[in-house]
């Protein structure tokens, strides 16, 4: 329960921090922290335009996408407190629920019959497919390390003891940050601020969404960021008292948001053709984590 509330709270200002960081980096003052949320509220109060080509798929897709993110958040624990849903192998459920949302956002884009949106949909499907093994190897390694298979049990029994384990924590954080960037279609893979439809991934998929649905999708992105931030925060909250954990949680989220902002300010988007290689590199980093775990557990002889 507590993780749900905290993630919802974070989602209110996360994008604000990202945008503020980018503004400061480019020498501007930038809008207030809650400006993105205000924009969303405005969207939610607007009417919508639907394409003549679309069918009911286009109507249900944003809601399902949004619901899948909410469902995935319910699985995330907070420190010693379980998520609302917690069971053995819940990270598989987490990934597959998110995949359902992705499925609908992709067919929602294809429903418009637009050439651009199909292009974005194709890229989204490809990139998320390539990122999938990395997440599973990462979680599988931690399952091996801790002997548990649910998010909550993995995070509570994760002990950082030796130098190697700190290294593993750092690598895992890196992988999760990168997965979050890919899943949210952010900088090294996709540039959300580009003005050319040909080079977009996620933005071009939602070209035809408007009004309430667009608001849902955009808020979904905020939630997804906060969700991955919460996953990363769980590596560090450990067994501290609750107040300190909450402080650490927000600290990690803000650092994560600033990292996103800095990444977006100082790096350029990769060439589309290089993205698959980059994403697949994450899998090899995950395998590195796996070998690290084997090393710690003394399974290498």
């Amino acid at each position: 329960m507590i993780s749900l509330v905290l993630i919802l709270l974070t989602s209110l200002f996360f994008m604000g921090v990202v945008i503020r960081t980018k503004s400061i980096a480019s020498g501007r003052k930038g809008p207030g922290l809650f400006q993105p949320m205000k924009d969303l509220f405005r969207l939610w109060k607007k009417g919508s335009v639907y394409s003549n080509t679309t069918s009911f798929i286009f109507q249900i897709a944003p809601s399902i996408y949004f619901a899948s993110i909410i469902m995935a958040i319910l699985v995330i624990p907070f420190g010693e407190y379980k998520g609302i849903i917690s069971f053995d192998g819940d990270f598989v459920f987490f990934a597959y629920v998110l995949a359902l949302g992705k499925f609908f956002s992709i067919i929602g884009a294809l429903d418009t019959g637009s050439s651009f949106e199909g292009m974005g949909a194709s890229r989204e499907a490809l990139y998320s497919m390539l990122a999938e093994p990395a997440f599973f190897i990462l979680m599988g390694s931690f399952a091996l390390y801790t002997g548990h298979t649910s998010f909550h049990e993995i995070f509570t029994s994760l002990h950082f003891g030796s130098y190697i384990s700190y290294g593993l924590g750092a690598l895992a954080t890196f992988v999760l940050v990168m997965i979050a960037m890919i899943e949210n279609s952010r900088m090294p893979v996709d540039d959300p601020k580009t003005h050319l439809e040909l080079t977009m991934v996620h933005e071009v998929m939602i070209l035809d969404n408007s009004g309430f649905d667009l608001g849902l999708i955009l808020y979904g992105t905020n939630l997804k960021f906060a969700m991955y931030g919460a996953l990363i925060a769980n590596f560090f909250t450990g067994s501290f008292p609750i107040l300190i954990s909450i402080l650490i949680f927000f600290g990690v989220q803000i650092i994560f948001a600033i990292t996103v902002g800095v990444l977006e300010s100082f790096s350029a988007r990769f060439r589309m053709g290089n993205n698959p290689q980059f994403i697949f590199t994450l899998t090899s980093i995950s395998i590195l984590i796996f070998f690290g775990v084997l090393l710690i557990m003394g399974k290498f002889i």
Binding site: K45, K46, S48, V49, S51, N52, T53, S55, F56, I57, I60, P62, I64, F66, A67, I70, M71, I85, F87, D88, G89, F93, A95, Y96, V97, A99, L100, K102, F103, I106, I107, L110, T112, G113, S114, S115, G118, A121, S122, A125, L126, S128, M129, L130, E132, P133, F135, F136, G140, A143, L144, T149, L207, D208, G211, F212, D213, L294, K299, I301
Partner: protein, 666 residues
């Protein structure tokens, strides 16, 4: 003894059906076939349910002195497959009533078709019941041949005939391997009873015999590199037949493999590892090929190969668990495989039926010619959508349940065994995730291309929603799928009891140990329900908010371009192009075109064709057969067409035998 009479009556019903269907007027042939199929299904399902409840059937039919008595057994494993066969066949027969309506003037063909359908169902049931090698092979052969004739219903098309011949040849290669395996056992043990196989495994090296069985059954199941009949036969067959074939006949290969795997006594670990690796490769290869196909039935055929891979990983896990004496791994692996077998037979037949409806309305299997069908066929589109969600293993549908079990098995496996196996398990997890991602891409592509957007080509007659006859069985399947997705604990505990009753005494486990697992599955079901409720809740909320403000309809945003046309839509091929470029070393694209010459100032119209070829079939096997043909050319002089020579060969052979016996050489 009640079971025996039921089985007997099922055979009698099938016999009456086979004799009477040709005599009935062609209008009611399909419907009466459905009734017969239903009757056979009911009479054979009762003993099967009894067996699942713990009363296996064991009858011995008197045989001849040489071949021994013929045991007829329904244990829980057979029962599981019998129920799957009956379910799929009843659905297929019902769907076939509507599907075959356009062919009603082809009376003779229809008689043969529906008669053979009944033969097909009965022979599959007997394959599961007979445990006598020779009788089993006969039933197996009848099954292959009857399905062959079902496949080549549209025999006037050369493509269909070619697929049929391909199917027939490959099935007989499989039978050859099975025959050798059974005879091998007979020479070792002196009995044709299946129990002899277990006796053989107890005293000899297990690997080679299992390999023979694996090749024999694997050709039916479609493990790579034995899969190449599937992508030809499935598109050629009428859709209700493809549904039943992909749903069941392929699964009988799995049945055989599980049956033999349960009898293995040693080398379990080695066989398990190899099976796991082959299955993973099968899965990745299958779905990768599926993602680039443009013929949607071929796509589904490759997708069947992928799912066979997933089922195979479950069996591999089971064998590895058995090798380590780890009952957790054994049970999870096998129950994952069994549940996935059931699940796949459900959603694959649903998918074949729904694309069959599309084919019936549009007369094309090429998805690049379609588009926007959701407006004319909304129900078929929704049914296909549900099938594709389920096959991708997405919650809250049934595919997730079996994939979740298999994931759980791998996660268990990581913890319980050593370095090499941990690595194998984690790579399997990654591959399963990869397969999941690829199937998401494949099915968004297919659904998007066929049903969404604008029509890509003018069709000869405008498609409309198919009749209720064709939709009803699909809704029925969706109902069962939802019941598995939302109440998995029931199906899981059935599979647990099944496994307990079929495991050999050495591998027994305590059912109570798995109580947490059942609770876990129950929880997964409940969370899936919660998810479904959340989906509906958010959608209703959204509808309320959207309704508060005016909305309007307009053209799709074309990024400022004002004259868009339908050919500018993203095609299925371009959707999967970046993937196929990335993995071009596995999915090879063959292009045929002529370049424009340097001096050609006024180029003529020219053609550009490209299609994806199967790596195994077109590169490896084609090379091998070419070489073989080349070598065999040197032996042409033997078969020279002169009758005198042939008579001489006969004489020569007889003399050889005569002198051989005379001098005690043979």
């Amino acid at each position: 003894m009640g079971d025996f009479w039921l089985i007997l009556s099922s055979a009698i019903v099938a016999g009456i059906g086979i004799l009477s269907i040709p005599l009935l007027p062609s209008k009611i042939k399909a419907f009466s076939n459905f009734l017969f199929v239903l009757l056979v299904a009911i009479t054979t399902s009762i003993p099967a349910i009894n067996a699942l409840l713990g009363n296996p059937m064991d009858i011995t039919l008197p045989g001849s002195a040489f071949f021994g008595d013929i045991p007829l057994r329904i244990d829980a494993l057979s029962a599981w497959f019998i129920l799957i066969i009956n379910l799929t066949c009843v659905n297929g027969a019902f769907y076939g009533i509507g599907y075959m309506k356009p062919y009603k003037e082809r009376k003779a063909n229809l008689s043969l078709h529906w008669t053979l359908f009944l033969v097909f169902q009965t022979s599959m049931l007997w394959v599961c019941m007979l445990q006598h090698s020779l009788a089993f092979l006969i039933a197996w052969e009848i099954m292959s041949l009857s399905s062959l004739f079902l496949v080549i219903f549209e025999h006037e098309k050369s493509e269909t005939l070619k697929a049929g011949v391909n199917y027939m040849v490959q099935m007989h290669i499989g039978v050859a391997f099975l025959t050798v395996a059974f005879i091998w056992v007979y020479f070792g043990q002196g009995s044709f009873d299946f129990l002899a196989i277990s006796g053989y495994f107890g005293t000899n090296f297990n690997g080679w015999l299992f390999l023979l069985f694996f090749i024999g059954f694997g050709i039916k199941a479609g493990f790579i590199p034995l899969h190449s009949w599937l992508p030809h036969a499935h598109p050629a067959a009428p859709s209700h037949i493809s549904g039943v074939m992909s749903g069941v006949i392929v699964k009988l290969g799995i049945y055989g493999i599980i049956r033999v795997a349960l009898m293995l006594q040693s080398q379990l670990l080695l066989i398990g590892e190899l099976l796991l690796i082959i299955s993973i490769i099968t899965g990745v290869f299958g779905i990768l090929n599926a993602s680039v196909q443009r013929d949607f039935k071929k796509m589904l055929a490759y997708c069947t190969i992928e799912n066979i891979g997933i089922i195979g990983t479950g069996i591999g896990l089971f064998l590895i668990g058995a090798g380590f004496n780890n009952s957790m791994l054994m049970v999870i692996g096998l129950s994952g495989a069994l549940l996935h077998t059931l699940n796949h037979s459900l959603f694959k037949s649903l998918l074949f039926f729904s694309v069959g409806s599309v084919y019936q309305q549009t007369h094309t299997r090429d998805m690049e010619k379609l588009g926007g069908l959701i407006h004319q066929m909304p129900q078929t589109a929704s049914l296909f959508l549900i099938g594709s969600l389920a096959i991708g293993g997405l919650p809250p549908l049934n595919g997730f349940i079996s994939e979740f079990l298999i994931y759980n098995g791998f996660l268990n496996g990581i913890n319980t065994i050593g370095l090499t196996h941990s690595t194998l398990m984690i790579l399997s997890i990654a591959s399963l995730a990869f397969i999941g991602g690829l199937s998401l891409l494949t099915f968004t592509k297919t659904f998007g291309t066929v049903f969404l957007g604008n029509p890509r080509q003018e069709l000869h007659d405008s498609p409309s929603e198919v009749s209720l006859w064709m939709r009803a069985p699909q809704y029925f399947i969706v109902g069962i799928m939802l019941s598995i997705g939302l109440f998995p604990q029931f199906y899981f505990s059935v599979s647990l009891q099944l496994i307990q009753s079929v495991l050999p005494a050495s591998g027994q486990f305590v059912l109570e140990d798995f109580a947490p697992m059942i609770t876990l599955m129950g929880n997964v079901g409940r969370y899936s329900m919660l998810f479904l409720a959340l989906l509906i809740g958010i959608y209703l909320l959204r509808n309320y908010f959207v309704g508060l403000h005016p909305s309007q309809k307009n053209a799709t945003w074309g990024c400022g371009y004002v004259a868009p046309n339908v050919h500018m839509q993203y095609t299925g091929k371009s959707f999967s192009k970046s993937l196929s470029k990335l993995l071009g070393f596995i999915v090879k694209e063959k292009k045929k075109y002529t370049e424009i010459e340097a001096g050609e100032i006024f180029p003529q119209t020219r053609k550009h064709t490209s299609h994806y070829v199967d790596l195994f079939e077109n590169t490896i096997f084609e090379q091998a057969t070419k070489k073989l043909l080349h070598i065999l050319n040197y032996f042409q002089f033997i078969q020279n067409g002169k009758v005198q020579m042939y008579v001489m060969y006969g004489l020569f052979f007889i003399l050889l035998v005569f002198f051989g016996t005379l001098f005690n050489l043979i």
